[in-house]
């Protein structure tokens, strides 16, 4: 019998640990670099004016992205109002019926929808909403984003509710409570932190989506609060201004990028806080 040499084993072990650690560090780098560059390039554009002023024509210095900021918030808000009720209820259904024909079909569709390229969702929204309503609108953008949010909300709701012990439901039903009240008063509250977390991540995910907004929200250089009219939004501002040949517009694009990254980051941090704060102990 030949004993492996201890020194060699130690060396292998240490090599392995070094490799794993290095790769973990490398995985964290892209985000750090993105934040670094966006901050470096964008911070100079940020001032009070940037948030409250409307864009200025080419050649005039200054101007802001107030319209796009408001537009993004409105579009995402309306998208959430559409996606959350559907997603929540579908998630409840899937968690309650783990294995029947409808739930399996729904689960499959939702999974495929999750993988559908966002530009295709945009084209779909164009066909369904823009064509039939006759104009580009913030609403059609919201619809496209809602379609993208739906699978995320459905899946996180289902996954969260599956972890709620059945005994809670049995206890509630044993008190003579009707099924729907058991769902709303016991099951959903018990999984609220997970569900809210999923919703916030879905919002963070779609806030920066550009492709679905290209042929829907369209963009608008003026302040518009009517969701049924074309609407400015941050991703499109970044897209259009970054593609332009003007230096000052590039600066605005960087500034808008910084705002967008900041919003997404904030949503992510907030969702972590929700998980911690609302955690339910069984």
């Amino acid at each position: 019998m030949r004993e492996p040499i201890i020194g060699l084993r130690k060396l292998r072990n240490n090599t392995f640990i070094t490799i794993v650690t290095t790769l973990a560090v490398i995985s964290a780098l892209p985000l750090i670099f993105i934040i670094f560059y966006v901050l470096k390039q964008g911070i100079s554009a940020i001032n009070w004016q940037f948030f409250v002023a409307l864009p200025k024509p080419v050649g005039e210095v200054g101007g802001g992205i107030a319209n796009a900021l408001v537009g993004t918030i409105l579009i995402v808000l309306v998208a959430s109002l559409m996606a959350i009720p559907f997603g929540l209820m579908a998630g409840v259904y899937l968690a309650e019926h783990p294995d029947n024909k409808l739930s399996n079909a729904t689960r499959l569709c939702v999974e495929v929808l999750n993988g559908t390229p966002s530009i295709v969702v945009g084209v779909f929204a164009y066909l369904v909403i823009v064509m039939s309503m006759g104009s580009f609108s913030g609403f059609s953008g919201s619809f496209a984003l809602a379609v993208m949010m739906l699978p995320l909300v459905v899946r996180t709701t289902e996954e969260t509710l599956k972890l709620i012990p059945d005994t809670l439901k049995e206890a509630a039903l044993s008190l003579g409570a009707p099924y729907y009240r058991v769902i709303f008063k016991v099951v959903i509250p018990s999984g609220l932190s997970g569900i809210v977390n999923g919703i916030m991540l879905a919002i963070a995910r779609v806030t920066g989506e550009t492709a679905p907004l290209l042929f829907t929200a369209f963009g608008n250089d003026f302040m518009n609060l009517n969701i049924f009219r074309p609407m400015g939004n941050l991703p499109l501002v970044i897209f259009n201004y970054a593609m332009s040949p003007y230096k000052d517009w590039h600066r605005i694009a960087w500034g808008a990028s910084l705002v967008l990254v900041g919003m997404v980051l904030l949503m992510n941090l907030l969702s972590r806080w929700v998980i911690k704060k609302w955690k339910v102990r069984f």
């Binding site: 012990p165 059945d166 005994t167 809670l168 439901k169 049995e170 206890a171 509630a172 039903l173 044993s174 008190l175 003579g176 409570a177 009707p178 009240r181 058991v182 008063k185 016991v186 509250p189 018990s190 609220l192 339910v280 102990r281 069984f282």
Partner: protein
């Protein structure tokens, strides 16, 4: 039988195609404690789950036969009406995790959308917690979450939650099997106390427990009721050989 509150006749239950309860005919006298015993998988849990129709939650489970509560057929009344009259306490304590102790006790009213005045709520909570022997321990922390209590306290909270609805029958599905001996002892004392007001059907693995608390004992084996009688009789002079070998520890 005179004074029987619950009577089953030819009750059968299936999981899918699997017959797990075979023609159970029993009657449960009012204000008594009836222990249901038997080896694992004998159908005793299924049996009491059929008595408040909570078995209907299990996919593929269904029951046939007759169960009468005060003369009314339970399978033809709405389940939500039945379950208010036949409460259930489960093996693992399961207080509602989002609710305080106080709200847990009143959960039945909240879930049934029954509006109560502040005073009524306080009275019911006090009475139910007192009834479950928990009042002294929790009276200063009523608005803390129920899940922060110990396992035994949680189980008594679950009993309080059930008796707050003033049911007629209490079903206890191995209520002490997840608890330490001291907590179990408290629950046993409580069960004996509760029979003044309720009819109690308790499923238990623990023969000593059955012998200590129950008035009558039923013995289930492979889905059949093999023996049912006064607890003393069943334990000292079992008629069925299966019961005898179970009680003497020859199988479990």
């Amino acid at each position: 039988m005179e004074g029987a509150i619950l009577v089953t006749k030819d009750l059968k239950a299936w999981y899918g195609d699997n017959l797990v309860l075979k023609n159970i005919s029993m009657s449960f006298p009012r204000n008594r404690i009836i222990a249901v015993m038997g080896p694992s998988g004998c159908g005793k849990s299924t049996f009491i789950r059929c008595l408040n129709r909570i078995h209907e939650l299990t996919p593929g489970a269904h029951a046939e036969g007759s169960v009468k509560l005060d003369g009314d057929e339970i399978y033809s009344m709405p389940a939500i009406v039945l379950r208010r009259k036949v409460g259930m306490v489960f093996q693992k304590p399961n207080p509602f995790p989002t609710m305080s102790i106080y709200d847990n006790v009143l959960a039945g009213y909240k879930l049934n959308n029954i509006r109560l005045s502040r005073q009524e709520r306080d009275e019911i909570a006090h009475e139910a917690l007192q009834g479950a022997g928990l009042w002294e321990e929790v009276k200063d922390m009523l608005h803390q979450k129920g899940t922060f209590l110990s396992g035994g306290q949680q189980q008594r909270l679950c009993i309080a939650r059930t008796i707050a609805m003033r049911p007629e029958v209490l079903l206890l599905d191995e209520p002490t099997s997840a608890l330490d001996p001291i907590s179990s002892g408290k629950i046993e004392d409580l069960i004996v106390e509760l029979k003044k007001q309720y009819t109690i059907i308790i499923v238990t693995h623990n023969m000593q427990q059955a012998a200590r608390v129950s008035d009558r004992t039923a013995f289930f084996y492979l889905g059949e009721l093999t023996e049912y009688g006064q607890t003393k009789e069943v334990f000292t002079n079992p008629k069925n050989s299966k019961t005898q070998s179970y009680i003497t520890g020859r199988f479990s």
